[in-house]
Every structure is written in structure tokens, then in C-alpha cells.
């Protein structure tokens, strides 16, 4: 498939400009966050002088370290499990006809529709009902529960209208259903699955309401910890945490990217 010289088109520079404007909008608060994590003045938006003090405070803060670890454990587990289950669901919904499909669709919508506060309260009642004590495990379960639908939705959207001739060709050439799935279908839907996984991780690492309901002793995640820090008065220590998190994630992604390009 030849690619036309799209970049020569008149529209492209405008599109690029608009996109970068949106990126600027996305990163404006982030930039503010990072810059003022080095500001010596607590409250005002006036630059005093550069300092690493807030980072020092941060490193001495055990509670935050614990919260970060909790958030990562929950985030990774929820992402892995929810992405697998959600991809399977998305496949089934996009490709297959089966009795109960309408009901399944409504089921998949529930986590998106029901207000978070109701989900949280309902889950706490459920855990109480089955005599399951709140802990980090209940947080992971809750996160998996509300994430599956997002993956299913994104994967299904990607698959809808997808050309099936590739898969049919594979099967004609003798591959069975499983082989076709692993070597043809999965790579084709990979961008959708990746998008879904990113969505789940984002949802999990930032969830406050539901987590606040179902977290048990010692299961404080980062959003819960930050929420409580805000009551102490918004100090740049919070900025410092966020900046560090950003640096780490960007670093990870850059590393993954380098790995990706070196493989080719």
C-alpha cells in the first residue's frame, strides 16, 4: 500500500498546530506542577528561589513511599487481569453472535454508567455480606471490576468493521482457530489492546472514590494519600511526588521505545 505524500497537503500543518496546542493544554498544569516543585515559597504563584527541599521532605516521607508501592501493585495487577478479560469480551462482542449478547452488552455498560460513589458503597456492602475484610486485595478486585468494560469497549470499537479476510485466509491455509487467534488476530488488534491497557492503568492509578470505600488498613494508595496531604495544606511536596512519578514513567516509556526500535 503506497503512502501518498500526505505531508504536502495544505491541511496537515494546521492539524499539527492544533494537535500541539492540545498537547500544550494537556501539559500546562503539569508544567506548573513541575516548575513549582522547585519553588521555595509554599503558597503563591510567585517564584522565590530554586530549592530541592520539597524533594528532601518527600524522601523522608514513608507514607508516600508505601502509597506509591500500593498503587503500583494494584495498577499492574488490575491492568493485566482486566486487559485479558476485557479483550476476550471485546472479541466476543464484535465477532460473535450468541444468546444473551444484548444482556452482556448491558452488563458491560454497568461499570461505566453507575456513579462511582454507588459502586464504592455497593462493593463495601458486598464485602461485608460475604465477610471479606477490606484490604489491598479488595482494592485490586474493585479495580479489575470497573476496568474490564473500558478494555472491551475499545477493543470492540477497533474490531467493528474489521476486514476478516486475513483471518479467513489463515484458516484456509490450515491454521486452526487458536493459531489464527494468536498469530493473526492478536497482532491486528494489538493497538486496540494497548490503548485499552493504557486506559485501565490510568483509571487504576488515579482512582479515588471507589478505592476510598474499599481500601483496608495499610492499603492506602497514592490518590488516597495525596487527598489526605491536601488537608495538611497544599505543599509543594505534592508537586515533588507528581514530578518524580512523571520522570519515572516518561523514563520507562523512553526505555521501552528504545527497546522497540532496536529490535527492528
Amino acid at each position: 500500500m503506497k503512502r501518498r505524500a500526505w505531508s504536502v497537503e495544505r491541511g496537515a500543518p494546521v492539524l499539527r498546530a492544533v494537535s500541539w496546542l492540545v498537547y500544550a493544554f494537556l501539559y500546562a498544569p503539569i508544567a506548573v506542577l513541575v516548575v513549582f516543585s522547585f519553588n521555595s515559597e509554599r503558597q503563591t504563584a510567585v517564584w522565590k528561589h530554586f530549592t530541592l527541599d520539597w524533594y528532601r521532605v518527600l524522601f523522608r516521607d514513608e507514607l508516600i513511599g508505601h502509597a506509591v508501592v500500593n498503587s503500583l501493585i494494584v495498577g499492574v495487577m488490575a491492568t493485566v487481569v482486566a486487559t485479558v478479560i476485557g479483550t476476550m469480551a471485546g472479541l466476543a462482542m464484535a465477532r460473535h453472535e450468541f444468546p444473551g449478547k444484548r444482556a452482556t452488552q448491558s452488563l458491560l455498560y454497568l461499570p461505566v454508567i453507575v456513579p462511582e460513589i454507588v459502586v464504592g458503597a455497593a462493593l463495601v456492602s458486598l464485602f461485608g455480606f460475604i465477610a471479606m475484610r477490606l484490604s489491598l486485595t479488595t482494592v485490586v478486585l474493585a479495580h479489575i471490576a470497573f476496568s474490564i468494560s473500558y478494555v472491551a469497549l475499545v477493543v470492540r470499537a477497533r474490531l467493528t468493521g474489521f476486514d476478516q479476510s486475513l483471518e479467513e485466509a489463515a484458516m484456509d491455509l490450515g491454521a486452526n482457530r487458536w493459531q489464527t487467534f494468536w498469530r493473526v488476530t492478536l497482532p491486528l488488534i494489538a493497538p486496540g489492546v494497548l490503548a485499552g491497557a493504557l486506559l485501565v492503568f490510568t483509571l487504576s492509578i488515579d482512582d479515588y472514590i471507589i478505592t476510598s470505600f474499599v481500601a483496608g488498613p495499610g492499603a492506602t494508595t497514592l490518590p488516597l494519600q495525596i487527598y489526605s496531604m491536601v488537608k495538611t495544606g497544599v505543599t509543594p511536596e505534592i508537586n515533588a511526588v507528581s514530578t518524580l512519578l512523571l520522570v519515572v514513567t516518561i523514563g520507562l516509556i523512553a526505555a521501552a521505545q528504545r527497546l522497540e526500535t532496536s529490535k527492528r
Binding site: Q43, T44, E62, L63, I73, V76, M77, V80, A121, V124, S125, F127, G128, F129, A131, M132, R133, L134, S135, L136, T137, T138, V140, S212, F213, A215, G216, P217, G218, A219, T220, L224, Y227, S228, V230, K231, T232, G233, V234
Partner: protein, 341 residues
């Protein structure tokens, strides 16, 4: 990939391990209500390891306790919530024999209406809900709730995002009891609050001190601990208990019925009843405690600060949040009306 998943599972399992030998304690407490040092000292002294989590609303605690799924051994509800929790049978009666330091409690805080005989609760910290203002910006001395209803400060007022507290203010302003259950009186209060709304820049129950300090508002309704700290940091600010009176509240240590370490919980409560321990919290967090044995250990600056330790005459004007009964629902309807306008 598979190894990565296995590692994650292993980490989680490791996380939820640890033998439970009764030497553990799970504490659920307000933000900024206890220090890590004090907990470490407690562990050193008793060998009991403590995990603590924080919350910022009484109703959140109620929700967790009512479900039966919570795993906390100590909770710290406010006075009216102690009443609600006892009515729902969610608290364990305290074994006074184990609380040898009980005598330290200030007599004024013993036997309070919401928990006669301290059967289920022991007072921890207490405070008032008045307002603080910026003397320089306002250019006058304020001493009445009229300040938050004054057109001159339009767009410069902050009120707590709290139905009971706001109604308390409006009821006092109209000369009635803050715990009124009378529908007519409540309607008058509602109208006052509706007229006040354009004056309010924001309703906020967590960062009221910060917003006052940042200059976004000049008058902030709020709890005395954070406001007094703000006044320490900025000499232009002053805290006021208005002449019409305000809410006085006390947060209490309680043991939930679903607690698994009741012995350790009693040890903790007794520990916090010791003068020097509670004094450490007072010095760090800026709220007052209901403990006579603590007085020698509290910083004189705090002890003599009328914002934190108001005198008797001032306190007489204040009252606790009472039993509202049915009128809670009416307040809620009116509050919805006020906010929805």
C-alpha cells in the same frame, strides 16, 4: 511476561502476610490527628505494631463500620456520630477497668449528652467552628456572624461545605438554637443562606485555611485548629468565636464492634489518655485536648491562645451538635434547595 505476572502475584501475597499474634492495631483517624513519632513510641513501649489510615468525613467511617467489612480497631468519630454509631450498635462498650488513665479527662468533657458515662467513647481532641478574617483587607474588627452575611464582603466569603454547620450559623444569626428542629425556624435559616449565596466565593471543608491565606477570600468559616495555625503564620489573620456563639465539637476514641484486636485497642486508648502523649499531638496539630494531665506538657503559647483554648465565658456561648432526629431530613431538603439555586 509470565514471569512478570508471577512476580506481581508473589509480591501481593507477600504484602498480605504476617502472623496475627494480637500485637497489632489498625487505626482509622482524621487527617492530621496523630503523629508518626507517637505511634512509633507506642510500638516501642508496648510491642504492638500500628497501621493507620486517614479519613476526612464521619460518614465515611460510618459506611465502613456499618458494612461489617472494615478491619479497624480504633476509630475517632465526632460527638454526633458517636450517638449515631451507638444507636446502630456499631461500637464496643469500653472496659473502664483497662483504662487506668480515665481520671485524666477534664470533668467538663466527661459524661457528655451523646455518650453518658463514657461507655463507648473517650474524648480525644476538641475545638470550635468559628471564622477567621484578614484584618488588613477587611479594615474592621469583626465579632459577629453578621460578617459572613455582609454585602460589603461580597465574593470574599468562604463557608464550610457542611449542611449542619451552615445551618448552625444561619440559625444563630436569626436568634434560634443551632439544633432547632422547628420547621419555621429552619425555613428562615434557609432563606438567609439563599440570600448569602452570592456573597460566597466558595464552599470548602478541607482547604479553608489555605484559601484564606492565599488571599482568595477575606473571611473564612472553619475549624479552629487549621485557622489558628494560619493566624500564627500570617499576623493579619484573626480567629473569632462570634458573640452569637458557635459549634463546639469533640472527637472521640472508640472501638468498633468488628475490631479484631480489642485488647490492643484498650491499651492504645489508655496510652492516649496519658498527659504527655496527648500533649504531643496538641503541640503538633494545634487542636485542644480534653485532658488535665496534659496541661504541663503543652506549649504555653498554645495554652494561652484563646483560639485554641477559649475561656469559660466564651465557651458558654458554644454548644454541641445535638440530636436532630427527623429534622435532619428537612435540613437536607433545604440544603439541596440552597445549593441548586
Amino acid at each position: 511476561m509470565k514471569r512478570f505476572i508471577a512476580l506481581c502475584v508473589l509480591l501481593t501475597l507477600l504484602g498480605c502476610g504476617g502472623k496475627d499474634d494480637g500485637k497489632r492495631l489498625n487505626v482509622y483517624i482524621w487527617t492530621n490527628y496523630i503523629t508518626q513519632e507517637l505511634l512509633s513510641q507506642f510500638t516501642a513501649q508496648t510491642g504492638i505494631r500500628v497501621k493507620f489510615d486517614v479519613y476526612d468525613s464521619n460518614e465515611a467511617v460510618l459506611e465502613k463500620l456499618a458494612s461489617g467489612a472494615s478491619d479497624y480497631d480504633i476509630v475517632v468519630p465526632t460527638d454526633y456520630m458517636v450517638r449515631i454509631m451507638t444507636k446502630q450498635g456499631l461500637l464496643v462498650p469500653l472496659d473502664h477497668a483497662k483504662l487506668t488513665n480515665l481520671a485524666n479527662i477534664t470533668s467538663k468533657f466527661r459524661d457528655l449528652p451523646f455518650d453518658k458515662g463514657n461507655r463507648h467513647s473517650v474524648p480525644y481532641l476538641w475545638g470550635t467552628t468559628g471564622f477567621a478574617y484578614n484584618k488588613a483587607k477587611v479594615g474592621a474588627t469583626l465579632d459577629s456572624w453578621a460578617a459572613v452575611f455582609d454585602e460589603r464582603w461580597k465574593g470574599r466569603v468562604l463557608m464550610l461545605d457542611d449542611m449542619r454547620e451552615c445551618f448552625g450559623v444561619a440559625l444563630r444569626m436569626s436568634g434560634h438554637s443551632a439544633n432547632s428542629t422547628n420547621a419555621t425556624e429552619l425555613a428562615v435559616a434557609r432563606d438567609l443562606l439563599v440570600r448569602q449565596k452570592p456573597l460566597v466565593k466558595t464552599y470548602n471543608s478541607s482547604d479553608f485555611a489555605g484559601i484564606l491565606r492565599s488571599g482568595d477570600v477575606w473571611i473564612a468559616h472553619g475549624y479552629n485548629g487549621e485557622l489558628a495555625k494560619a493566624c500564627d503564620e500570617d499576623k493579619n489573620l484573626a480567629y473569632v468565636i462570634p458573640k452569637e456563639g458557635c459549634t463546639v465539637w469533640v472527637d472521640n476514641l472508640c472501638i468498633p464492634r468488628s475490631a479484631r484486636h480489642i485488647e490492643a485497642a484498650h491499651t492504645f486508648i489508655n496510652y492516649m489518655l496519658e498527659g504527655k502523649n496527648i500533649a504531643a499531638v496538641v503541640n503538633a496539630m494545634s487542636y485542644a485536648c480534653a485532658n488535665d494531665a496534659a496541661r504541663p506538657f503543652i506549649k504555653p503559647a498554645i495554652l494561652s491562645d484563646p483560639a485554641r483554648y477559649p475561656d469559660e465565658a466564651t465557651l458558654k456561648r458554644c454548644n454541641f451538635l445535638g440530636d436532630l432526629g427527623e429534622s435532619l431530613q428537612l435540613r437536607d431538603r433545604y440544603w439541596t434547595e440552597i445549593k441548586a439555586k
